[in-house]
């Protein structure tokens, strides 16, 4: 995949109609489309509050004073921008798949498209790669920054052992303000270790989205002959007879997925298990639609 090939203009134009929303209030530094925990000057009414000395008298609701003979301050919602932090796994295992259609390529398509969509709606985008070579682009707005993010995404190469857990903890510490943290990984780590990492992110008030990328063959282990399995993360190769251990393999996968479901349920992250055989634009469309605020709410 050449640089920027992971961005498909047709997909981008189709998805631009779907805004990227956070599921919780964001704290931005400029005005934007996203709800802020602080009151601001948007047109959308938020609440009445009793006047206390020091409040700006221009914000007194005189009509309310006329009806009740009391001073109330009329408050409006503040709209701010969204900070999108992409955590993309670049460990060796992300290199699994056909050439130019690896798991990392799929992650590039997901992450690049989301960064583009965020930038197009005026939000900031940042990028952390999880793997042997660490890359870190802080969240900023602007077309030039988007270019930088996309360039870094394009340059990622799958290599080395996974450092997912450490990277999530590190990200949780470094991302100072509330953000939409999107983790794209194969999550080949013990769920028990993943849980505290995700809890760490959630503790920092981030809206956490996990795209869990799996290949159908990894689930089915559908081999007919014994083979020598070479670890993409550099571990010892292993000789295995699928006819002999297939059942145990599938049992191990089932246990792992059940534990993972428990983890995401407990931590409250927005978890999406994706098979590489699915089209990424469908995945994104489903994701964005799922985030669209319901009618009457924000």
């Amino acid at each position: 995949m050449t640089q920027r090939d992971f961005l498909d203009p047709a997909v981008l134009s189709r998805l631009l109609a779907l805004p990227l929303h956070a599921r919780q209030a964001m704290i931005g530094n400029i005005s934007g489309k996203h709800r802020s925990p602080v009151r601001g000057s948007s047109l959308e009414f938020a609440q009445y509050r009793k006047y206390v000395p020091g409040d700006d008298t221009r914000r007194l609701d005189w009509r309310m004073w006329g009806r009740s003979d009391r001073f109330y301050i009329k408050e409006f919602e503040a709209d701010t921008n969204l900070r999108l932090c992409l955590l993309i796994d670049a460990s060796g295992s992300m290199g699994y798949g056909e050439e130019s259609a690896t798991r990392l390529d799929y992650a590039r398509q997901l992450g690049g498209t989301l960064a583009y969509l965020a930038a197009q709606q005026g939000d900031a985008a940042g990028f952390w790669s999880v793997g042997e070579t660490k890359m870190e682009i802080p969240t900023r707005r602007g077309a030039s920054h988007l270019k930088l993010v996309l360039d870094q995404i394009a340059q990622m190469k799958p290599a080395g052992k996974t450092t997912l857990i450490e990277s999530i903890h590190e990200g949780a510490e470094k991302i100072s303000q509330r953000a939409l943290v999107i983790l794209i990984s194969d999550l080949f780590v013990p769920p028990a270790e993943l849980k505290p990492a995700l809890q760490h992110l959630r503790f920092r008030k981030h809206d956490v989205v996990v795209f869990h990328l799996l290949d159908q063959r990894e689930l089915d282990f559908d081999f007919d002959r014994p083979a020598r399995f070479v670890d993409l993360e550099g571990g010892e190769p292993m000789l295995a007879d699928p006819s002999l251990i297939g059942k145990q393999y599938r049992e191990a996968v089932r246990i792992y997925l059940a534990e993972l479901d428990e983890v995401v349920h407990t931590t409250g992250v927005d978890y999406h298990r994706i098979k590489l055989q699915e089209k990424y634009d469908d995945v994104l469309a489903r994701f964005l639609l799922g985030r669209t605020p319901k009618k009457g709410g924000r």
Partner: protein, 670 residues
Amino acid sequence: MSFLQPLLLWGLPLIALPVIIHLIHLHRRRTVKWAAMMFLLAAQRMNKGFSRLRQLLILAFRVLALLALIFVISRPLSGGWLGLTGGAPDTVMILVDRSASMEQQNVTTGVSKRAAGLRNLAKAIKDTVGSRSRLVLLDSAHLKPLLLERVEALVDLPQAEATDTTADIPAMLQGALDYITRNKTGRTDVWLLSDMQAGDWDASGGRWEALRGAFISLQGVRFRLLCYPQTAKDNLGVTVERAVRRETADKAELLLDIRVVRQGDPSPQPVEVPLRVVMNGASSVLKVVMNENQLLLQAQAVPVDKATKRGWGRIELPADSSAADNASHFVFDDPAVLRSVIVSDEETVAEPLIAALSAAADTARKYTATVLAVSRAAEIPWDDVALIVWQAPLPKPDDVIAKQMQNHVAAGRSIIFLPTEARDDAQMFGLHWGDWKRGGEKPKNVDRWRNDAGLLANTRDGASLPVGELEVLRYCEINGEGIPLARVGANQPLLVRSTFERGGGAYFFGTLPDSSASSLARDGVVMFAMLHRALNDGARGLGQAQMRYCAQGMLDDESAKWRPVSAMKDAVVPSVTALALRAGVVEAGEKLVALNRPPSEDQPQVLTSTTLDGLFKGIDYERVEDTLESNRSLTSEVWRTFLIAMALFIVGEALLCMPQRREAASVTTA
């Protein structure tokens, strides 16, 4: 294990092929780049035990299948005791028991123990050794090693044919030992064919210890015993113990003492036995009823012509599983005088002896006993005397009288040595006197004695002699090699038969008949029986008509030309050696000799495994039992077994290689 195509065993390294192919496959196996190693590791952990075992089992089954295939085409022979010979030995010695009891046969096939054993041995040796080893035959009748060129000849050799002799297994082993040490035979397998008859083995004899020690000290000698210990069922045996012609005024008759023995029936039923009496070529049948396992017909009268003063005949039984004891031959003539000589200077010793020996035990015969002083020992009439009682210093080995004594015994006569008061260091017949011992305050009794054979055996009707009642005040030690027939005190031999000389009997009796030494003269019965048995045994070699036991050299004492009485004048006569080994009646001039199997061949007792283990303790030996009914060979091709094993290994391998059933549903994703 032996193989008919041993060269094909060079293909054994091929069994490593599955392992090599497995290793090659390990390196040539398809490589898959895999990310989800954590699931693979977990699955491997869950499946580790059986997976590893399965791989090993598959490999083992493949190796074993190949091994079985190579064995199949190499045509293995099941060896049993012949198995795992580790290659052909330098020498194979075949010791064949040719005693009469070996002629017990399978009534259906007519194959005797000897024939079956020889056939089995020949085949086994041919299969396992072929012509790679030197083959030496040593048979019980001749005791001379014979080199064989072809093992196939074993079954047809005259030296392996049936005889009516007894076997002396210790003597055979001694012969084998002599041959091995003399010829330095290298690694030697000694194969012994025997029916394990206890009498032939003489397990209580003194020769075993020396033999065992000698064989233990030899390197590379192994024993293989092929045994046929089964006893005959409902077997009848007949023995003519005495044949005496008696003539009265009006008639003449032959008085026969006939013993009929039945074997193999613990609860005998009365049975009528037809005894066919063949005399001087004419036959008649005498029917007797057997109520017990033994029947003794004493002085059974058979009428003879008055003019017939001498003759021969036999008693025959109907055919049964043991042909050798179905006939007993006899001859008769004017009986010889039962002459005995007592050489002693002591009247107290000589008097009771002469009284006993002069008394007639059989009124039909004449008895003569003479006392000679020691100084007149040269006057002994050696040709006529049946028994010599010698109470005098033993002669020196090179004395004339010593030679005469040896000839006397070799001719089948008897001699009893009694101790003198003076110490005597000389040795005779392998025995010599020791010191006199006093019995103590109380006289000693005879604790143990052999009541099955010998001078102190039970009487014909089974009653025991009152040997235990004998009181021994003092006795002289008996040293040397011999068969103890009675023991006194602390296991000291009192009566010993020498094994040094074959033929008649040479006995050492360790006490004296006078009252200062024992109660022998006072009680009398034991002394009388003992002396008269020795006298009768010695008298067998006297007279013109004699009854002898088959053995090599039994007819060598005569220079005359022996021939069977029934042979035609111009017929080819077997050699004297061959004649002496088979039962029958032979003549040479005026001499008539009836040859019969020795009485020990009628004893059905067989050697127990425990006794055999004791005899061969410390010696590398194996024993295999066979029966006359068994058709199995000592060696047989067992390729079918390996073929079946190969098929089983292949099926096992196929089952283990069969892929496991795949689950219908795969893991679903959320």
